[in-house]
Every structure is written in structure tokens, then in C-alpha cells.
């Protein structure tokens, strides 16, 4: 069985990314409401987080080429922006910050996983050449037959989201739940880089270094968040 992706006259990538971000925020709102976080806290946290997510992502991808200014959406930049936004909001509104952070950390894999559907349809971030079962064929500028790494990405991150929801709803110590989620998320993202077309075969590629840097920034932000807000569990 092979998957054939036609050449779209316009890329659905942007629309799917926006919808995935909306879906991720909706999941975070539901988790926060379930945890009893106030409506005002949810509103202002979402506002700060969504602005930081978009602006950080645009800042990371902003560059000038000979064809003009290029703006795109970076998943890693968005993840760092999201955690930064939640951290900033928690410093302003100190209402159940651990529940808020846990909800957003659990929703981030959902956003990323759903956004991979846009990559799958657009053909970007495709896998290495492959002709076995479930090979995906593109007819656009990425023409060729590849391993469907975007679908593997999507499945893996949605599974991590389900695991994360389970952890943050069952564990009282939200900080431990956040640490476990990050400890699963970063290695999975790192490992999936081996399947991407741009991986040069070296043990650690430049893309994987970027993943490690973004993961380290996320961990540092969470530790700073815990330290500043003095969140302790007994």
C-alpha cells in the first residue's frame, strides 16, 4: 500500500498549523478547567501564550533571501515561545501555576502532532527515500517516494499527548509529571530526526543539535519557573 499526495494549487500547511495550535489551546483550556483554574487566569494565560508562541516562531524563522522576506512557522520556536508565555503569565497571575504549566506541556505534543499533518500534505520535512509499505509519493516540488516520517511523527506525538494527559490527571506532583513528559518528548523528537531526509547519517546532525538546544531551553525555563514560583510538593 502506497500513499499518493497530489500537487495542491495552494499549500494547506498554514491552515493546518493554525488549526493545530487552536486545537492544542482548546485541549489546554479543557485540562485547566478540569483542574479548577479560574476563567480569568485561563484567558490571560492563553493570550500571553498564544502571542509568545506565534511571535517567537516568526522570530526564529524570519530571514531575508534574494526573493524577499521569508516568514514561516517553527515548531521548536513555538514550543519555546509557549513555555515562555506560560512562565510570564504565571509570574503575573499566580493562580495554580503548576496546573496551568502542566496543561500546556501536555497540550504541546498535540499541537506538534497535528501540525505534522500539514507537513505530510505539503511534503516538507519528508523522510528518506523509501518504496516499501505506506511509502508516500509527492508530485510537487518535493517529488519522489519517501518514508512517511510525518505520519510517524504525528502518531508518536499524539500518543505522548495521551500519556501526558494521563500523567497530569493522575499525579498530584505536577512538576514530576512535567519532567516525565519532557523526558519522553525530547528523546522521541531527537530519535525521529534520524528518519528525516536532511539527516546526513552522522550520529548527531545539526537538526538534532537544534532539538537538544530547544529541549535544554524548555527544561531551563521549567526549572526557572519552579524556582521563581517556589513550587514545592510534600
Amino acid at each position: 500500500m502506497q500513499i499518493d499526495i497530489p500537487a495542491f494549487s495552494w499549500s494547506p500547511y498554514g491552515l493546518i498549523v493554525v488549526l493545530s495550535v487552536i486545537a492544542g489551546f482548546a485541549a489546554a483550556v479543557l485540562l485547566m478547567r478540569r483542574a479548577g483554574v479560574g476563567k480569568q487566569t485561563i484567558f490571560y494565560t492563553c493570550l500571553t501564550a498564544i502571542v509568545c508562541t506565534f511571535i517567537t516562531s516568526l522570530m526564529v524563522t524570519f530571514r531575508i533571501t534574494e526573493r524577499g522576506i521569508v516568514l514561516s512557522f517553527s515548531g521548536l520556536g513555538a514550543a519555546v515561545g509557549l513555555i515562555s508565555g506560560v512562565l510570564i503569565a504565571a509570574l503575573i497571575i499566580r493562580d495554580k501555576p503548576d496546573e496551568v504549566m502542566a496543561a500546556f506541556i501536555a497540550s504541546a505534543p498535540l499541537m506538534y502532532g497535528l501540525a505534522k499533518l500539514g507537513c505530510f500534505l505539503a511534503g516538507c520535512c519528508h523522510g528518506k527515500p523509501y518504496s516499501g509499505p505506506f511509502a508516500v509519493t509527492y508530485h510537487n516540488e518535493h517529488a519522489g517516494t519517501y518514508f512517511p516520517v510525518q505520519l510517524v511523527d504525528m502518531a508518536a506525538f499524539i500518543l505522548i499527548h495521551i500519556l501526558a494527559v494521563f500523567l497530569i490527571t493522575k499525579m498530584k506532583n505536577k512538576f514530576s509529571a512535567i519532567c516525565i513528559i519532557l523526558a519522553v518528548l525530547i528523546p522521541v523528537r531527537f530519535a525521529l530526526e534520524y528518519l528525516k531526509y536532511y539527516h546526513d547519517g552522522s550520529p548527531v546532525s545539526s537538526g538534532q543539535i537544534t532539538v537538544l538546544i530547544a529541549g535544554a531551553i524548555a527544561v531551563i525555563l521549567v526549572l526557572v519557573w519552579k524556582k521563581i514560583l517556589k513550587i514545592n510538593y510534600r
Binding site: 498554514g14 490571560y44 502571542v51 511571535i55 531575508i64 522576506i69
Partner: protein
């Protein structure tokens, strides 16, 4: 609060003198109108006007002279808090409802409004100034035909500054909204920012749709 505490702490020291002065000064004139209107709304108003009546009163009473030599007491003596119990009328409780329901005095409200406005103005400046500058230089940036590494670095720093200032503008607005909920400026600013953000998203969506429509018509050329 400090004044109130001082007043309360001063009362046990000097309660006798002003109370003794009352009957000497005008016992009938002050008591009669208050008795006729036991709890009127304008009760706090006459209280300060009565203060000068009490000022000359200690003069005939020799006991009160050392009391007026104390500047602290003299200052406090002018306060309506001490005069009210002298009348035997609940003037002080009647003046309490003058405070707003949010629990702030007019001075506190004014100070809070000023702080909120400062935050909002800084937020507005952070939002507008970098956007204006980047808009003014956008044509220059786009016309850079020879993209050097230095130019790319400058552009990256510039974009980081613009992005950071926009995030700062949002954060300051949210601080103003959360800490000074009564500020209408902050409320208006919030909805303006949200409106611009939503308009930006809609504009991008329309742009994509327009591109799709044009490329659809131009297929084959």
C-alpha cells in the same frame, strides 16, 4: 493608616481636654442641630466647619494650653475623627460610605489610575515604535540585493528586538489588566491588541486565499 494609628494612640493621652472644652465652648449650639437630625447624610460636612469653633475654645480653659503646645495633637485635633465623638453623633460612620465599593480611597484610586496609564502608555510605545521603524525600513531591507552575513545578523537582531518589544507590549498590557482591573485604558488597549491580532490572522488567511485564487486562474501559463 499611619494617621489613624496616631490618632488612636493619641486619644488616650488627651481625651479629656477636647471633651472638656466642648461644653465650655458651645454645648447648646452643637448639640441642638445634631439632635434634630440624628443621622443625616450631610453630617460629615458640618464637622470640619465646627473645627474653628473648637479652636478658640481652649483659650478660656487654662487646662488646654499645654495640649495645644503639642503640634501632633494640634494637627490631629483638626481631624474630623476626633471631633465626631465630641458631638455625640455618628458623623464618622456616616462619612464611611463615601469610600467607593472597590475599597480604595479617591487618592488610592487616582494613584492606581496613574500607574495603569503609565503601563499602558509604555505598552503602546513598545507596540508602535518598533513596528513603525520596521515599516519605515522594510523597503530598504527588501531591496538588499547583496545579502551579506553581516546584513543577516543585523536583520536577525532587529527582528528579535521587534518581536521582543511586541511581546513586552502585550505583557505590560496584561499586567495593567490584572493588577488594575478598573483601568478602562488597559481594557480598551487589550481589545485593540486582540483586534489587531485577529485582523492579522484574517489578513494572512485572505492573502493565502487570494494567492490560491490567482494561481488557480493562471494554471497552464
Amino acid at each position: 493608616m499611619e494617621n489613624n494609628n496616631n490618632i488612636n494612640s493619641a486619644q488616650p493621652q488627651i481625651p479629656v481636654q477636647p471633651v472638656q472644652a466642648q461644653p465650655v465652648a458651645q454645648p447648646v449650639q452643637t448639640a441642638q442641630p445634631m439632635a434634630a437630625q440624628p443621622a443625616p447624610a450631610p453630617a460629615p460636612a458640618p464637622a470640619p466647619t465646627q473645627a474653628p469653633v473648637y479652636a478658640p475654645a481652649p483659650a478660656p480653659a487654662p487646662v488646654q494650653q499645654p495640649v495645644y503646645q503639642q503640634p501632633v495633637y494640634q494637627q490631629q485635633y483638626q481631624q474630623p475623627y476626633q471631633q465626631a465623638p465630641q458631638y455625640g453623633v455618628p458623623a464618622y460612620p456616616a462619612s464611611q460610605p463615601a469610600q467607593p465599593s472597590d475599597g480604595f480611597t479617591p487618592e488610592e484610586r487616582s494613584a492606581r489610575r496613574k500607574k495603569a496609564n503609565i503601563l499602558c502608555f509604555i505598552s503602546l510605545a513598545l507596540m508602535l515604535v518598533p513596528s513603525t521603524i520596521s515599516g519605515a525600513f522594510s523597503s530598504t531591507i527588501e531591496n538588499m540585493s547583496n545579502i551579506s552575513e553581516v546584513a543577516e545578523t543585523v536583520v536577525s537582531i532587529f527582528s528579535a528586538l521587534v518581536g521582543g518589544s511586541v511581546i513586552g507590549a502585550w505583557v505590560l498590557m496584561i499586567i495593567a489588566r490584572v493588577k488594575y482591573k478598573e483601568s478602562k485604558f488597559a481594557k480598551v488597549l487589550m481589545w485593540v491588541y486582540i483586534g489587531f491580532f485577529a485582523a492579522g490572522l484574517i489578513a494572512v488567511a485572505l492573502f493565502i486565499a487570494m494567492c490560491w485564487y490567482i494561481t488557480k486562474d493562471c494554471q497552464g501559463f
